[in-house]
């Protein structure tokens, strides 16, 4: 911090749809706003775009939400919004008696700190996985990564891709791959047809998703690809990279059926089982969390006004519950309007009816989200799908067998397993293995109880960063920590 950074009214962490829509409201209302994002360009994952001069991918589905989102990006640009991409926020501390200090690693590798009255945590989500023996072989990629390759670099990962997972994303990715010119010989859905058909209970709320699903499925069938429900991947095999997979059928209880294994040649497999909210920054800040399987697991707890348990700290988007792009947009807008009222930039009366409408729409999206998150729940037979040699912590090469030995010896919490096995002590800071650990503990035969184990603690830095940046940082006061 060589120069004095002015204190702002709002710092927003995350320039995905939630962060952007909050920024649009606030900057439009005249607030001093800073929008920080770790990506190459604002947009997060849902609004991922190629970096110029690379052009957009015309084969992508033209969703209304995406179009609306891209318009918001244009709008905030023309408002002159301060946006810093390639910036990793590493921690948040209270700033004196009121307000916040957010610090992070900037694009140039320097550490900087920004102070504000309010913060909005809109840090989004990351993909969840159900591991299997050999799932670390190169060639096994996530469904999200495939989508980002299509959106961000205009590339399909292979001429032929097998897709496997739970929830709506694998089907969407299969459809998008086919539209982009790849073959998808098989889509393996861990869920059942009945589970998916239950979506009709949501009525008109789900029509958009249903229609998308039908289109993708039609595309898959037309191309000769097979959709196999209640099918899981048991193993990935190959010499240094994926060459074939072993699939298995699941019974109605989600347990693998013996004798139902079959081998499928594949050198590229896309996998995905829903999303986990990126709660780490909120956790580090001290926000209370809550566990809700219908929101994707551990989420940041917010009240009806999207405030977290900490003063002047809001959370919007997937971070407070996985429910998709529409909810992110709605919550970003809500948070923006509510903070704008607090800052006296707009009067409460003027926005009351919009807020009421947003709240209603938010509840609807939460219902849709609940349905999708239920589809992504790990099957009851998870234990039988994960052989002991399966690597659970990819960063530290810790196997399911080692983890099971700890649970068998009485470890009930993720931190116990972390201390004993080093799971979660690597570069990803427990983001990939955390949700899997939780699922393993919860599907353990005599699992302690319905109470889920607490998540791994998150302290700063919530992302890895270069020690040199810390040394080069110029902090005014330093004396409190002498000896």
């Amino acid at each position: 911090m060589g120069h004095e950074d002015p204190r702002r009214q709002v710092v927003i962490i995350g320039a995905g749809l939630a962060g952007l829509s909050a920024a649009q409201v606030l900057a439009g209302g005249g607030a001093s706003v800073l929008l920080l994002d770790e990506g190459l360009r604002p947009g997060g994952q849902y609004l991922k775009r190629p970096s110029p001069p690379l052009g957009d991918n015309p084969s992508l589905p033209q969703e209304a939400r995406r179009k609306k989102g891209l318009e918001i990006i244009k709008a905030v640009k023309s408002l002159g919004l301060e946006c810093r991409p390639c910036t990793q926020v590493l921690g948040v501390e209270p700033d004196g008696r009121a307000g916040w200090m957010v610090w992070g690693e900037t694009a140039s590798g320097v550490l900087a700190a920004w102070r504000s009255d309010f913060i909005i945590i809109a840090s989004g989500a990351r993909e969840k996985f159900i591991p299997f023996k050999g799932w670390t072989l190169p060639g096994i990629i996530s469904t999200g990564a495939v989508q980002l390759l299509l959106k961000g670099s205009g590339v399909v990962p292979a001429a032929e891709v097998v897709v496997a997972g739970s929830g709506p994303l694998p089907l969407a990715v299969a459809g998008e791959l086919i539209k982009a010119g790849s073959r998808v010989p098989a889509l393996l859905d861990y869920g059942s047809l009945a589970q998916k058909l239950a979506v009709v209970k949501l009525g008109s709320l789900a029509w958009g998703k249903i229609w998308e699903g039908i289109r993708h499925q039609a595309r898959l069938m037309a191309s000769g690809g097979k959709l196999r429900n209640r099918t899981a991947v048991l193993e990935g095999r190959g010499h240094g990279r994926l060459e074939e997979i072993v699939t298995v059928q699941l019974d109605r209880r989600g347990k693998p059926m013996s004798g139902s294994q079959s081998v499928l040649a594949a050198d590229c497999l896309a996998i995905g089982h829903g999303f986990a909210p990126n709660i780490e920054l909120a956790q580090q800040a001290g926000c209370e969390l809550e566990h809700d399987p219908l929101k994707g697991g551990w989420v940041v707890r917010v009240d009806g006004d999207l405030q977290t348990s900490l003063p002047a700290c809001y959370a919007a988007g997937e971070v407070s519950g996985i429910a998709g792009a529409e909810k992110s947009y709605i919550e970003g807008r809500m948070a923006g309007l509510l903070i704008a009222c607090k800052l006296d930039l707009i009067s409460g009366n003027r926005v009351d009816s919009e807020i009421a409408d947003l709240v209603k729409r938010r509840n609807q999206q939460l219902q849709l989200g609940a349905f999708i998150n239920r589809l992504c729940h790990p099957p009851a037979g998870l234990g039988d799908l994960i052989e002991d040699e399966t690597i659970i912590c990819r960063c530290e090469d810790v196997t399911a067998g080692e983890i099971r030995a700890q649970i068998g010896s009485g470890a009930t919490r993720l931190t116990d397993i972390k201390l004993a096995t080093r799971t979660g002590m690597g570069l990803c800071q427990g983001r990939t293995c955390g949700p899997m650990l939780e699922a393993i503990i919860q599907t353990w035969p005599d699992a302690a109880g319905p109470e889920p184990p607490p998540p791994l603690p998150a302290r700063m830095p919530v992302k890895p960063f270069n020690l040199s940046a810390l040394v080069e940082m110029d902090l005014e006061k330093e004396s409190e920590y002498r000896g």
Binding site: L54, R126, G139, V155, A158, T432
Partner: protein, 95 residues
């Protein structure tokens, strides 16, 4: 062996040349490094920490740290978060 493919109909204006494991490779400005490596069929990017097994792209969004390669002599760089630059020197697993 599976290689990625560039989707047709996308505007690719500006060529760059990068070195991958000592070989010159043509790519387009705006592409991320992991996309270019996948197009080359190079899926094995880093060695796992303990067993030194080959690992490649998983999350594609900077979280999992499996796509790490050496760029211009600096190891441990996330290829999915890096844009290709003319003259960039990249080394992957086993190179």
């Amino acid at each position: 062996m599976s290689r990625g493919k560039r989707i047709k109909g996308i505007r690719r204006d500006s060529k760059v040349t990068i070195m991958v494991n000592g070989q010159p490779v043509q790519a387009y400005e705006g592409e991320t490094l992991h996309a270019v490596l996948i197009i080359l069929g190079i899926w094995a990017l880093k060695a796992s920490r303990i067993n030194h097994d080959p690992r490649g792209v998983l999350c594609g969004m900077g979280v999992c740290h499996e796509c790490l390669v050496t760029i211009n002599g600096k190891s441990g760089q996330r290829s999915c978060m890096t844009l290709v630059e003319d003259g960039m020197e990249v080394r992957t697993y086993g190179s």
